[in-house]
Amino acid sequence: MKADPRGVLTGAHYLDGDFACSEGAIAAGCRFVAGYPITPSTEVVERISRRFPLIGGTFIQMEDELASMAAVVGAAWSGVKCMTVTSGPGFSLMMENIGLAAMMETPCVVVNVQRGGPSTGLPTMVGQADMMQVRWGSHGDYAIIALCPQSPQEAFDLTIDAFNLAETYRVPVFLMMDECVGHMTEKVLIPPAEKIEVVPRAFTKKPPDAYRPYSTDGWPVPEFARAGDGYRFHSTGLTHDERGYPTMSLKAQAALVERLVTKIQGNADRIIRLEEVDTTGADVVVVAYGITARVARMGMELARKKKARVGLLRLITAWPFPEQRIGELAGKVSAFVVPEINLGQMVREVERAAAGRARVVSVPHAGGGVHEPEVIAEAIVRAAK
């Protein structure tokens, strides 16, 4: 389906990543946002609050992030596309209802403009240290999708992708920005509405008496009914059967939880997007995402002057993790270099996927700034030896 033209600001703009994210959400069809102020993400909801009254959307500033996330899960059941936006401390509060969204299979988008942590950390300065929290932050087993934009243009594009993936897999999808991308202003091209592909909510066409809210047939994602259309369905955060009714059966638990995970992991090939630069014939491959991927390119240029044969694997999709591609490369390269603005998070996944067939070098940064390109260059040159 094509985007609703009423929301699309077609043209060339000069926007920061936060504003570009707002426009991406609107272009994707988002018409409900609940949020709570937190640096450095607040600009997203500020722009939404100005745009929504003009295009039939509702924004509400809730009393906290617990409420924002709960309101988004509730809103999704009206059939609307919806989103909330936050940074580390708020992200921690949202974990409870992110788990509910995963369990109820609620399509929604959560934007985390990452700052330095832990706790209140560095509110106005960059971090990338929520990359494991986004995967594992709520209790229990479930799977999610997380995307990492490296520019305001990608903040726009990937926000649309995030909504489309949320609808396709009925899962919370995370736009894991960082403060640098969020506050970086660059040219953003917004295409005409008819060039923007959006995935509509897949409302069930079954009559109410034949509808079972959590039954699947082949494709592991159940059909959606929204509240108010006469389906009289029940949804719960308790382990439930195909009717949505609570059950304590171990069989039902296994069927449900395994499906929650496999509907994402089993479709990893369809979901994962990577950018590869000069990985063919490379001796060292840098694995990076977000702002760090841009800094890494500078480090790669410096390393090339010292004869390093280096390529870049940029994680546009961080979760599900592209373990298959890393595994393929591990047989061909001598090392992976993984710079990230944390003390070593996604590098653990690289190590796991490389499984000892290539060395894996972490280039940590505690947060508050980006790497010096020379530090990444030095790691590349050392890894090449």
């Binding site: 094509k2 409900f32 509400i60 059941w77 009206s78 509910l100 929204r226 509240a227 108010g228 259309d229």
Partner: protein, 336 residues
């Protein structure tokens, strides 16, 4: 949250011998009496009792029997809600129940409506999102005292402040029932709970006053004994807009009554009969509940205040004029 349900009936029979188990049915006001045979026997597969029950169309009968203990008050409150929907001729396809966690949180799983059993304390913000994004829905939040005013207290006061269009039915049994009888923010001082073994020394919330002072447009309190008045209050509140709050005092036989050696649910119903004082229009500052003392019931607040949606529409209409595009009643779902 997990409780071995099989053990609950035993807990009742294990009540200390000094407890008077035989409440007098005659002492209960006639309006409350149900056919006792219906209540006491377990239905069988051949049983057509549920289909004949007046509220069967409002209940997911395939989920019966429910998990509530014998002489729990929650089922009575749910019955009053169903009776109110029936009496109003409510459009059941547009009526939604949202619950949190706990004994009362299970109501969402039993009503034959679109219904959501959410996270602990978050029923109100969940319902807020649902209501705002499809404003034509009639959304009722049905949950317990610990859920709505303990862990969810912040959401409760803010929804009342905004005069959010929600009907909130709070079943107050003075205790955390599902987890085994721990202290609640509503436990009267002096009452014993599983985490206040020597008696509760904290002051309890006065919930009608909390709701009223935060801006609720309708505030009432009844007990599970007042089935007709409660049903009427639900009808009355349903016909109004904004944040409407009904507190229902209900017996928890298994935990509150047992831990405090005050009998069974039936004895508590007798206590409500003897101790409930109906004072419509009472000053909510004066309706505190103290341990085993009188319970002031009635409709305390019934006022017109602009609701969140009204304030939003009025404001944007004034500021933006024709440029304002409100979310349509059926929601903003785009199809090309």
């Amino acid at each position: 949250m997990s409780t071995n349900l099989n053990s609950l009936p035993e807990l009742v029979t294990n009540s200390p011998p000094d407890v008077e188990l035989n409440g007098s049915p005659e002492a209960v006001a006639p309006e409350e009496s149900e056919p006792r045979s219906s209540v006491l026997r377990q239905p069988t597969a051949e049983d057509i009792w549920f289909d004949e029950h007046p509220i069967a169309p409002f209940v997911r009968t395939e989920r019966m029997p429910h998990i509530w203990c014998p002489s729990c008050g929650i089922g009575t409150v749910m019955k009053c809600y169903a009776s109110a929907l029936e009496a109003m001729g409510a459009d059941l396809d547009k009526t939604v129940v949202v619950s949190g966690i706990g004994c009362t949180g299970r109501v969402a799983g039993y009503v034959n409506l679109d219904s959501f059993h959410t996270t602990h304390g978050r029923a109100i913000p969940f319902a807020t999102g649902l209501k705002l994004s499809r404003p034509e829905l009639k959304v009722t939040v049905f949950s317990g005292d610990g859920d709505l005013c303990g862990i969810g207290g912040n959401h409760f006061i803010h929804a009342a402040r905004r005069n959010m269009d929600l009907l909130v039915i709070l079943v107050n049994n003075f205790i955390y029932g599902m987890t085994g009888g721990q202290n609640a923010p509503t436990t009267p001082a002096g009452a014993k709970t599983a985490t206040m073994s020597f008696g509760n020394f904290e002051p309890a919330f006065n919930l009608p006053h909390l709701a009223a002072s935060c801006g609720a447009s309708y505030v009432a309190r009844w007990t599970a004994l007042h089935v007709r008045r409660l049903t009427k209050a639900i009808q009355e509140a349903s016909a109004k807009k904004g944040f409407r709050f009904i507190e229902v005092i209900a017996p928890c036989s298994t935990l509150y009554a047992r831990l405090n050696k005050i009998g069974t649910g039936l004895d508590l119903m007798q206590f409500y009969h003897d101790s409930a004082v109906v004072q419509n229009g009472a000053d909510t500052r004066e309706v505190d509940i103290t341990y085993q003392d009188h319970i002031v019931c009635g409709k305390f607040v019934d006022r017109e205040r602009p609701t969140f949606l009204e304030m939003m529409h009025d404001h944007y209409g004034k500021v933006l004029g024709d440029r304002y595009v409100p979310t349509p009643p059926e929601g903003s779902v785009y199809h090309d």
